[in-house]
Structure formats: C-alpha cells, structure tokens
C-alpha cells in the first residue's frame, strides 16, 4: 500500500489535486482511498458528488451510518471533519478521526491512500498524518506565489522534524500553475534548494472549475481533456516515484531572496 499525504497553503488547490489524483488512480484500477483531514470536509466532494458525513460527526454526535462513502469507481471517501470555525480544537479532531479510521480498518485493502491535510502544519494535530506510520510520502502543492512557497517551506520544517524521528519523507513538489505569476523556474529552484524535486505541473484549466461546479473531477467529467491527461501522468509519476528526502528547509530570508528576483521581473 502506498500512503501519501498532501499539504500546501490554504486555497492552493490541494483538494482539487487530491480528488483528481484519486480519480486517476481509480481509473487505472488501483483500489484508492481519500481521507480529508480538513474541518471544511470538502476533499471528497468531487468524488462523491456531495458533502458526506464526517467521522467526528458520526462518532461524537452519535449519527447512524458508516464513516466512509464509496465514491467514483469505488474510491473509499472519508472526511475527518471538525468543529465549526472559531471553536474547539480541529487538530485534536484530526487525531481522533485518524484513530477511529485505523480502528475500523477501512484502509487495509487499499493500494493507495491519500490524506488531504489542511493548509499548514499549524499545530500538532495537523502533523498527525506525518506520525505514527499514517503516511510515508508527503507532497506539497504550491503555486509560484511568494506566500505559497513560504508556506511550503514552513511545512518542510514540520516534515523535517518527523522525518528525522520516523519514516515519513518529502516525495516531491506539485506545481499548480494557476496563479497570476506562472514562474516555473522559481518553484524548481525552491524544490532543488530543499533537496527535493517538482514531480508534476498542473496548468491552469477552465475544465477544472467546470467539473467542480458539477461536483466531479476532470477525470470523470472530461476524461479526454488535456488537463485530465495531466492528472493521469501525475498519478503515474506519483505511483512510480521512489524519491524520499528529508527536506532542508530554508530561513525566511532565504525564501525571500529566492523568490524576489522572479517576482521583480
């Protein structure tokens, strides 16, 4: 089983990437699971066509029903869930949800499991997928915006801590080219500086938005499109990828110095 988790700055396209990657894996016959680790609980929307009940809602609010839903091509879709914005402790929610998922043994027959984690490693709870053998490989989604790379570098700090103590590794950077500045070289240089690599680039595509309006992935909605092929290739590369590094994260000044020449041009 391949267990990966996807991090990245909030709103950078993690959930879109995760859903389309999962759909591509499933399309190619892999038994796939997606675990949304974000209180917004929208990681699996495009795979199931709806918002599903979350693990925390089911176990703590004593709702009836399974803690998973089968989505596109029988992808096991799970949302950890969490508190309403501004209340409670979402990090603790992630920990409890992962314990419950493990206890229910829902993932044991899967070929690949993808954890879609909230924007940043803001507290110990959001580092939970990096620990206790939950995931092996981490991918960071980023655009070529300064703040996006800044967040990516921050995430690398979290990965580095757990990589030194455990088996988790940074497997690569996924470049989302949808920002106003499409500076591929900046992202490649960043990946190189932290000792990793860019494993794929997702170009801007109107089909992504159109498919999301229909609560679908581009793999399902527009299987013959270029963007669909991009996700297919990315899924292939992720499956074949054996790179795993302990990231050498940069200082704030180093990130700034790296980005500024690209941003000024």
């Amino acid at each position: 089983m391949k267990k990966i988790c996807v991090y990245g700055k909030g709103g950078i396209g993690k959930s879109t990437t995760v859903a389309n990657l999962a759909a591509a894996f499933a399309y190619n016959g892999y038994k796939t699971a997606v675990v949304g680790c974000d209180p917004k609980a929208d990681s699996t929307r495009n795979l199931t066509g709806r918002r599903i009940d979350t693990v925390l809602d089911i176990i703590h609010k004593r709702k009836d029903g399974d803690i998973f839903v089968l989505g596109y091509k029988d992808i096991v879709c799970i949302e950890a869930g969490g508190p309403s914005p501004g209340t409670g402790c979402a990090g603790r929610g992630i920990v409890v949800a992962l314990e419950e998922i493990d206890r229910a043994k829902l993932l044991k027959d899967r070929d690949i499991v993808i954890y879609d984690v909230l924007g940043d490693v803001v507290c110990g709870g959001f580092s939970a997928p990096l620990r206790e053998n939950v995931a092996d490989d981490v991918y960071i989604v980023t655009t070529s915006d300064f703040m996006s790379l800044y967040a990516a570098n921050n995430i690398c700090k979290g990965i580095e801590k757990y990589a030194r103590e455990g088996t988790v590794r940074l497997a690569g950077i996924i470049y989302n080219g949808r920002s106003s500045l499409d500076s591929e070289d900046m992202v490649y240089e960043f990946a190189n500086r932290i000792g990793s690599k860019v494993i794929g680039k997702i170009p801007m595509s109107e089909y992504i938005s159109k498919a999301e309006v229909c609560r679908q992935t581009v793999i399902e909605k527009y299987p013959g499109s270029d963007i669909s092929r991009v996700f297919m290739e990315l899924a292939h590369d992720v499956m074949e990828n054996s790179l795993g590094t302990i990231p050498e994260y940069l200082s704030y000044e180093e990130v700034e110095n790296l980005c500024m020449p690209y941003l000024k041009n």
């Binding site: 925390l56 703590h60 969490g82 508190p83 209340t87 409670g88 402790c89 603790r92 409890v96």
Partner: protein, 401 residues
Amino acid sequence: MKCYDSCRLFGAYQAISGIKDNVVLLHSVVGCNFGTMGFHLTRDMSDMRQSCTVVSDKNIIFNGESSLREAIDNAIELYDPKSITIISGCVSSIIGDDIAGVLSCYKHILQIYYIEGAGFKGKLEGGYEDALLELAKNLVFKEDKFNNPCINLLGLNYDDFKLEEDIEEIKRILGNKVEIICVTADCTIEEFSNMGKAHLNIVFKRGRKLAEFLKSNNGIEYLEMDYPYGIKGANDLLDAVGNFFDIDFEAEKNIMMTQTLKRMKKAYGYLQSFYGLPICIFGQEGRAIGLKRFLEEELGMDVVCLGINEEGFVMEDFIEKVYESDAALVFGSSFEGDIADRLEIPLIRYHYPVFDRISISDTPYLGGRGAVNIVEDILHYVVDGRKNKGALYNEEDLCLR
C-alpha cells in the same frame, strides 16, 4: 502531585470554596474535580457544593460551551445556589471556549462569575490571589463603614485542617470588642460583599491582592500577620487590632495566659523533654513562620529545617536537608508522610492538604487553646510511635505487648 507546587485551579478553588452559598463549577477534566474534592471532603464530607463539566474528547474537538451550559443548568437545579463561580481548567483555555459568552446568558438568573484556572497560567498562589480579587471586583462596592470596630480575615483556606475550630478560636480571642465581618474562607456572598464596610483587614500572608484592592477601592488598611499560633501569636493579633482601634485587650490576654498555663501544667514533665528537640516544618509562609515561632519560643524546640512554600522553593532540596538532619518531628501536610516514614519519626499534620485525618471535635490549633491541642497531639504521636526511631516507649525495650 505535590500540593506545595500545585496549579492555579487548586488555588482558585481554595479561595472561592469558602463562600458557602456559592457553587464552584469546574469547567475541566474529571481529574481536577476529583483532586479538589478529595482534598476538601475529609474536612467536611457533607459539603458537596461542587460540580464539573467533565470535559471529554468531544468537548475538546467541538468546544465545551454546550457542556458548560448543561452543567450550569444542572448545578442550578441540583443546588439552587445564590451564585455560581466557574473555574476553567487547562483544556478550555487551550481551545479557547467563550466562557464569558456562555455566562452572559445566565446573568439575569443568578450571580455568576468566572475565574481562569488553567494550570499552565500559573501556580496555586496566583490562582488563590486572583480568584479573590476577581470576585471582589464584582461584589465589593464603595460603601459606608460600620460604626463598631470591624475587621475581615484574609488568608485562611477553605480546606484548611481545623478551619472552623481555628476561626471560632480567633473569634473567642477577640471577644465582643471587635466584630468580624468576613472570613473569606468561611462566609456567605452577603458577608463577602460587606467586606468594604470593615475598617481593617488582617492578612495571614495570603489574599494580599484582595487586601490591596480593598485598600485602594474602600480605603481599608491591612496588617500582614503570621498565623496566631500559641499565646504569643494570639497576643500579637490582639496587639495589632488593639493598636489600630485603640482597644485594650490586656484582660483577654491575661485570661488566655492563665487558662493555657493551667492546662499545660498537667504535662509539665513532658514539656521539659521538648526543650532543644530538633524538628522540621514545611508550609506556606504565614503558617510555617507562625508555627516556628510558637514551637521555638513557647515550647523551646529547635527548628533544624524550615521549608517555606514560596517562589523559588525546591521541595526536593528541602527533603534532602530533612533526611540529613536529626529531626525528631515533622510538621506539614499529609504529603509529608513519606518523609516521616523514612525517618521513622512522627508527622504532625497542620497544613493543607490533610486528607488522612479528620477534625470534627472542637480542637483548634490557633491561640492558647490551640497551643494545648498541639502539645497534646505531639505527645500522642510520639507515644504512639513505639517503633519509631528514639521512641519514648520502645516496644522491644519495655515489652508493652
């Protein structure tokens, strides 16, 4: 846990629980409820004015505000209290429960107050001080003073061993020349609210923030004192109050001296054996210093180790010194039982928490009567310890069995 270094929640609990028509509601995990209740119930098992939200995993994730509402509703139904004071624990402070928001829904029903007791925010003493201050800010207003000489007693603790007996003894010592408006460790909401009408606060080395507040807000002077152990301690209290109000307490002092000596004479032979006896004392400043003075100046003992629970105090260092000493007695809390056991010497319990003894008889430790009771207890512990190091009646030597 060692209470000499306990957390803010325990201090706030100590301070607030003395208000008898108030219910303490701990918004915390079950251990905080168990711990606080365990320490006070041995003093008064009939006094259950306490409730707890028992914060669970669900409350941590989704917030504990609904549980708090439920617990307040239950406390109102169960106790019908005049007021409720919420003391929050670590979890609710970490996750940021909006406790003030919850309480605002109850302000029109009853008096309800909130004190942050998170352990990571400070230690026991800070919790004690801040809790009294917070309550005073809500309850004590600028009012005219009573005509008679009136005082408040600050710094006694609700879960003190022999609290009620000691308060009664202080009242007896002062007689009818001075009225006590409020003893924060044993009062009602009304008495607490009336504190501002007193002329003087006696501060037994705790409740200093409250004393400062009452001075600036109500113009009440305060005098810091050690606990009035023994005749000297009681005389000091009478002198301080007498000087402030220009009251002559000589008659009361003479009566106390006469009555105490009359009883002490019966144990004269034993008392001689106290001279130079090496002992250890551990406790909070006001209590330990007051007891030291009594034991040294009135009984002639020799305090070879004194552990004052204050900022920078390291219990482990104190314990090491005790082990290296030739102490024949230890004065402390129930927690110091381990020290006494290891040294095979008696432990005289006088300080919070005492959870392995009860005190339901009228046997104070303060003042002249307290001196008699302490002497009596020392002798009993020493005589009972037949197997102890240096026992007066060694079992093997004297074949008592």
